[in-house]
Symmetry: C2
Subunit: 528 residues, 2 copies
């Protein structure tokens, strides 16, 4: 085991931190650029007082030797990548906010190969970063230093699909969109849908407990993932690849791996319960006078659309203004403080249309909504969805954006936007809110004409403290990864984090799996 | 710590085992009667060669002293029960198949009280059996020896209900039916429904990951339980009582406690996502010529009833015959080899009726079903449901019943019945199958005029081996408890059970929580 010496250089420019590190050989091994907003959580909780998102020191893992490469090539032949050009896209996340300096990318095809790799790495104390489609938003899917990248991209076989039960079993590296296409041909659909579906792997989706657009209707992966196979850090294969809807024989181990971001094991295969593809889809845009009325509309909607409701999203008038200003998108209804996008998915087009009609009539009559429009054709459906989906894009044209993704009790989600506006006064250009009402998931975005350290200092820790005060989650669906690991105490109690650390120690005692991710740098001691 | 000496006396009479034990003081501390069928699992898996359901030796826990009672009374006042008559119903399970000899029942009202109790018991090495409504079927909810019974019956406060999101938060001791009633008044319903709803506690439901009648529609508790508070064996309170639909901050610890049968912690409160109450309910009885046609009907049904399908149950002609013979229930349609009970729940009665009509027309036209009848009125709905629900009762009148509750890939569930019939030849009176097609959950029941050791020897381990061979679960929804703990290897790999044991050791290092339950007597060593 080497014990490298690091020189750290912090170049702090507002929220931008560059860390350059050199090991004892003098070669630069790491440059990390974190453009996310950084602020210290409460010191009382035992965290550093500065830059909780920054990478901690490299831990004393071994470095990959020629002998190691020879071993990997014996197992994987030409599926051992060491060409820096080919490694580039796997060393950097897709936001280009975090960059590692791995010199080896392994591309196993089978669980047995993954097992051999991890057994070897465990013995050699080589750190490993599992990587799916590398579409994560919190720096969880790229190495921090020179960790070996273990890619699931060649593990893309569909193992089975049971047309009667709708249960799909496949390798972890299957791309979500490919699975959706495969199922569409068989009159089914995946229970999750994401913007990144063209790249993300189902194994990565499960490892991050991805939420996405269909959660309101089909629930989280914790319910729809029926089975899972994972390779533990020492190479042992844990086969929980059940494809049963009911199985109460002992503890449900697969849940440990769902949402653990590759820190407890490498997911190699999954079984997923897939719903039937809906025969009919409708999308509606509605306008409301107040957020209270929007919430009442949601309530009415749950009652009257009931089983066909598949999405209930919202954006505020600032968002609509952004869409018009920067993307020249037209608001097809009259101007309102709040807009709702509702989607229905059902098995009978006539019934769905009737339910929608009745709901809209009631919502209009009771003055919950002011105006609205319905889309049943594909092109109009897409146009309405784009008003919700392109807010992120419009924001990037508005200046520098401070982005937050929190979940809160549904009736509180917009209060954070209002309180933030009041708190910031004239300090920000815009404070906008949009997101998934049905899931209690708010996307809070604050823009300014340029990066603004004093604005950032006003936003944080206010936003985290506000979220914590209302028992919200500081990461609704993106996970913690590298960037948010030290913010965990805003949403989880000390006892809980202590237990998480014990689970990590139990499953990965050498800490070789996706190090520096998910858990905070300073593990808490239990209070007892 | 005492180190008692036990004399064991095994009186084996076919599947009935009576274990009488005396401690060194000469007082009888334990009589267990296990009427469930017993057979050794494969010896290669490291289990005893005899009676895997029988209780193991009492572990060297302390015995409750007067000093202990004084401590408990100081915390709980008159909520410390030591009267043997009052303890009787808590010492025996409701099947009256397992009996403990606890001398103390504690009835805390708050999490803090539970915490104080467990902290004390941990220090004193006193074993504790958490108990909800005591409606379990595998001997998990009663003491095996003199474990202290910790009842949640006075922890029955509803903490909050959010009418917008449908999220209910309550203490663990709330009776399921009371919660259903509470929600009904608020236009919602619990996502689970069980025959035992009048007695079972929501905490017990969560601790056993109860399935029930609504799983097909609303999914398992792993998806619908959003938060959970548990007290660990040493008294630490783990507060994961989130009421958020999305929260990806670290590992999802609550999943450890769901389905762990009180062996990892005492669940004290839960948050549950509750669906809206359906405005319309229909029930249909259909008859099929073959199980293949029944499966095709299920497939058609999933497509055409889609989002309103809430149950798809089946029974075979032998079941219908039992209902007629023993309960004088009339089959309202023509005689068929297989019968289906379908339930729909929706938000619009007219639409639901139309969907049903279209589905039935298609099913009849394509000759998938031979005959059928629809019920929309409450009384007729109940009459049709009773054909499915009263099979268990009818069976008890047919003689001695060997009962199995397995889950399998949906297309295999009836094959087990056929193979068992062939395997047993004329050895059994009846071999019948019924259950939840939608969940892949078969209730296999075999009757004989009297207890029959040779018949039992033919059934087991055949039934477990068959289930294991088809990657089924030997406990679909009842858990393992005391009775099935040593059968776990039929459904879980050695690595998985090894990991479960490690989790138990981590969370309950002294093993005081619900000892002798869920995990096998002999923990496996990891293969690595």
């Amino acid at each position: 085991m080497q014990s490298p010496f690091f020189k750290r250089k912090y170049c702090r420019r507002s929220d931008l931190i560059i860390i350059a590190m050199k090991n004892e050989l003098g070669s630069s091994h790491r440059v990390t650029t974190l453009s996310c907003a950084l602020r210290a959580p409460p010191p009382a909780r035992g965290l550093h007082s500065e830059s909780p998102s920054a990478a901690p020191q490299r831990r004393p893992f071994s470095r990959v030797s020629e002998e190691d490469l020879t071993f990997f090539r014996r197992i994987l032949q030409n599926r051992v990548i060491t060409d820096p050009d080919l490694l580039e896209s796997s060393n950097v996340d897709w936001l280009r906010s975090v960059r590692g300096s791995s010199e080896v990318l392994l591309r196993p095809q089978t669980t047995e190969e993954v097992s051999q790799i991890l057994k070897y790495c465990s013995n050699r104390l080589l750190a490993v970063t599992p990587q799916g489609g590398n579409t994560g938003l919190v720096g969880g899917s790229v190495p921090v230093y020179d960790e070996i990248i273990l890619s699931t991209s060649l593990m893309n076989d569909i193992i089975s699909f049971d047309n009667v039960s709708g249960i799909l079993t496949c390798q972890a590296g299957c791309v979500l969109e490919n699975l959706s296409q495969y199922l569409e041909d068989r009159d089914h659909m995946m229970p999750l849908d994401l913007g990144a579906k063209g790249s993300c792997h189902i194994g990565g989706n499960v490892a991050t407990n991805a939420g996405g657009l269909r959660l309101l209707r089909y629930g989280s992966l914790r319910g729809t993932v029926l089975g899972l196979e994972a390779v533990l850090s020492d190479g042992r294969v844990l086969d929980c690849l059940s494809s049963l809807r009911k199985d109460n024989t002992g503890y449900d181990l697969k849940q440990l791996f769902i949402g653990s971001e590759g820190t407890l094991g490498v997911i190699t295969a999954v079984s997923v319960l897939c719903p039937r593809r809906p025969a009919s889809v409708n999308v509606v845009l509605l306008g409301c006078e107040s957020f209270q009325q929007l919430l009442e509309t949601f309530q009415l909607c749950r009652g009257m659309l009931g089983e066909i409701l598949s999405a209930f999203e919202f954006l505020d008038s600032e968002c609509m203004d952004l869409l018009k200003t920067h993307l020249e998108l037209t608001n097809p209804i009259s101007e309102c403080p709040f807009y709702i996008v509702i989607e229905t998915s059902g098995s009978d087009a006539t019934h769905d249309a009737e339910k929608l009609h009745n709901f809209l009539e009631e919502a209009m009559t009771s003055l919950l909504v002011i105006d609205g429009t319905v889309a049943t054709e594909d092109s109009k459906i897409k146009a309405l969805w784009s008003l919700r989906e392109r807010v992120t894009e419009a924001l990037t044209h508005d200046g520098f954006v401070y982005k937050y993704d929190v979940s809160l009790p549904v009736d509180m989600i917009y209060q954070l936007v209002l309180d933030m506006r009041e708190h910031l006064g004239g300090g920000a250009k815009r404070v906008v809110g949009y997101g998934h009402v049905g899931d209690g998931n708010l996307h809070l975005n604050i823009t300014s004409s340029a990066k603004d350290p004093s604005l950032l200092a006003s936003i944080e820790p206010f936003v985290y403290e506000w979220t914590a005060k209302h028992r919200g989650s500081i990461s609704a669906e993106h996970g913690l990864g590298l960037k948010k690991r030290n913010y965990i105490y805003y949403s989880k109690h000390r006892e809980a984090v202590s237990l998480m650390s014990k689970i990590k120690d139990m499953l990965d005692p050498k800490g070789i799996l996706n190090p520096y991710k998910t858990l905070p740098d300073t593990s808490p001691r239990s209070s007892n």
